[in-house]
Symmetry: C2
Subunit: 330 residues, 2 copies
């Protein structure tokens, strides 16, 4: 297996040691598997917590910083953090103003964060949870509760992160956070699996000229397997499915993420964004904010996803608030 690791069992521990050593101005290690912003919890600010499996760098720990997350519960590769880790992460974020837990729609994360939230509520903490389910490939629109969360989490973190920084209450953040999730739709395509470090095996099998539309970022099955096609064609196909899903309409203002899944070059993602911009223009939709890069990966998976969020004025303002997270600045 061609990975720069030592022992499989030490991967997460060693990664966290390296991460905290490299970014000691911004983050610290509070518990074995809980990384926090330096100085968390912050007085007069709602705490912001996320968590989930590892293997998605810069997600999740890269989003710790001013204007984004306060604490992260760190799981193993593609595996939810245990309930105790979730408990410690939430507790570390609460200065008394309450905590918003922002996680993807995966059963392990829901179960373990759910158990932690129940315990902490019993202890008197005020906690709300927003669950991200932006992946249009993972279930029909009339069954959104079964959709996975993918790169749309970043928009949620950005908006509620800005709100918390500016003194919003937990109830306001829960309301806006749910709306951000509803307004956000993503779809991806992958042509190359990642290699699972536990087994050395690929996360899914695929032919030398094939790609799969809608693959989940743990290698979950997508909706269609097709031959490789030109960038404009696959971008049009993804955009069509995303646009009708909300639906997005003429006059909308949106944020756009073109997110590389790991090995796909930034050069290719800009070729994709060129077509995204052309389609948005045709549809009368304006892009208020655009991110092109690697924001939520699956180790060395080859592919990309597109995420659109329909923005109202409040969300636009929140998106524009400066942020200084470890791997997300601007």
């Amino acid at each position: 297996m061609k990975k720069f690791i030592n022992q499989y069992d030490d991967m997460i521990e060693e990664m966290l040691e390296g991460y905290v050593a490299a970014n000691a101005d911004l983050v610290e290690r509070r518990h074995e598997r809980v990384i926090t912003r330096v100085g968390a919890p912050f007085q007069k600010k709602v705490g912001l917590v996320t968590g989930g499996g590892s293997g998605h760098k810069p997600a999740l720990i890269g989003y710790l910083g001013e204007g984004m997350m306060d604490t992260v519960a760190v799981g193993n590769i593609f595996a939810a953090p245990g309930a105790q880790i979730c408990y410690d992460a939430i507790k570390a974020a609460d200065s008394g103003e309450g905590v918003l837990v922002c996680i993807g729609n995966y059963s392990g994360d829901l179960m373990n964060f759910g158990a932690a939230v129940d315990m902490l509520k019993d202890e008197g903490h005020k906690i709300e949870t927003v669950v991200v389910n932006d992946d249009v490939a993972s279930a029909p629109v009339d069954n959104m509760d079964n959709r996975r969360g993918v790169a749309g989490e970043i928009i949620l973190w950005k908006v509620v992160g800005a709100m918390a920084k500016q003194g919003a209450t937990l109830d306001e953040m829960k309301r806006v956070g749910d709306q951000v999730v509803f307004n956000t739709r993503s779809l991806g395509v992958a042509h190359t699996p990642c290699i699972m470090p536990s087994s050395g095996k690929p996360s899914f099998e695929i032919g030398p000229d094939e790609m799969e539309i809608g693959v989940g970022h743990h290698g979950e099955p997508g909706i269609e397997r097709v031959k490789m096609m030109p960038a404009d064609e696959i971008t049009s196909l993804l955009m069509e499915k995303i646009l009708v899903d909300l639906p997005f309409k003429s006059g909308d203002e949106v944020s756009v993420i073109v997110n590389g899944l790991g090995s796909t070059a930034l050069l290719e993602m800009y070729i994709v964004y060129r077509k995204v911009a052309e389609i948005l223009k045709e549809k009368g939709i304006s892009a208020h904010k655009i991110w092109v890069g690697e924001y939520f990966t699956s180790m060395e998976m080859g592919g990309f996803s597109i995420t659109l969020t329909q923005l109202d004025d409040g969300m636009k303002k929140a998106i524009d608030v400066p942020v200084n997270a470890v791997h997300f600045k601007g």
Copy 2:
């Protein structure tokens, strides 16, 4: 070939269209192959120019922005930009305070920038050039003029970018720039080639359990081909060669870049940085600034490089000046 492109001949054009559309607040297209900061050239500031082949995103165009580069001459994949492009890029950066050209040590870049500089000097422009040759694998230390430039370019850009922002003269920047280059040493390792979009062929051949130490970021041969080894072992080996080369010594303050070459996961790079930090500590060297991520890639090449720069007080101050380039912020 599994790449998200349309026609090979349109790749660079389409990438640039997407790039400028996505980052229109920061960059604009001045000529077909010249991208500049919005509003360049800037009065009372020395202009900063780089250029080279494409395929290294976020380098080179991602480093355009306040506190870094003003204009970039864009070549084809792994191919130097033509002399006319270099000419236009330098001219677009000059407000009358002169221009510092900061490029890697590649014959095509030297020749074409050289020709452009000669023409522009004849027209009365004041221009200096700093050539980066940080790759210790590419020639012995007593033959540094034959060494390639790799991720060390970023440190040069950061330091002279900050100096220009703060009103330094061209002569000061040339002097410090040359010193930064001398103080900077890099070494990389790759286990997986990138795929050349022109041919669909890999940039080099390598066995399923091998990696090559010192591969250039266009796939140039390295110094040794070895079996895959644990992350700590390969990191120690690279660090040993880097540290003796300057040599770096106890009491030094350095900047560190752990740079992914394309498909290597950020998780792995943090495992590498953990060992880098341990070795620096053992040697009595302190890390003033650390970057871990993808800064200078070779499309989907698998591997990473380590870059150390010995910093004096002036360089430390320059490194700490805030920067707002498209893909380099902080």
